[in-house]
Subunit: 112 residues, 2 copies
């Protein structure tokens, strides 16, 4: 599995998360991204590089433009890790339920 | 909403993710966490501090021990952000479907 270090690090910045939220609504150029964030294009480009090398966005060439789009695979890798955590937690709660049920059975047995 | 910067940054380290996976299976002390990772206890403690201040784990006092457990609220905040992204992506695909359907209708209209 590709390391999750870079994707999680990329997500630790509010501007990068906002850029991803924007791209979830559809492709955008650096210029289109720079405008709402009131950032210079070089500043946006630096954030895009972090997101691209983390596998969270991809860019294509369209003449002189290089529109960005969300790379779903990167988001899915993060989703998978969280799903694994949820599963482990659920199993843990199931075990706790078993322990509690056993305790209740024992208590009832003692009462009888 | 509490910032997601710290939680995402905390998750960008493989040891911290491994510690969380371990805690998803149940509470553990620093000593119990240090063993499988072949790390010193101070090194584990430093990671735990990062996870605790990010709201991903909580610790309780049990005599001289301070067992750690997963703080579900922190994980849920991350889940919520990802869910929002998935929703935006789905809406985006729905719009694409509409555009494609309209294009097909127009093409059919032209053919008739």
């Amino acid at each position: 599995m590709k390391s999750l270090d870079a994707p999680f690090f990329a997500l630790s910045d509010p501007t990068r998360r906002a850029i991803l939220s924007r791209l979830a609504r559809g492709e955008a150029t650096v210029m289109e991204l720079a405008e709402p964030f009131e950032m210079t294009q070089p500043a946006v480009s630096r954030h895009l590089k972090v997101l691209e090398s983390a596998g969270l966005i991809a860019r294509r060439v369209d003449g002189a433009k290089r529109p960005c789009r969300l790379e779903q695979k990167g988001m899915q890798a993060i989703d998978q890790w969280l799903a694994m955590m949820r599963k482990a937690l659920a199993r843990n709660y199931d075990r706790l339920d078993d322990v509690l049920a056993n305790m209740q059975r024992k208590t009832k047995g003692e009462q009888q």
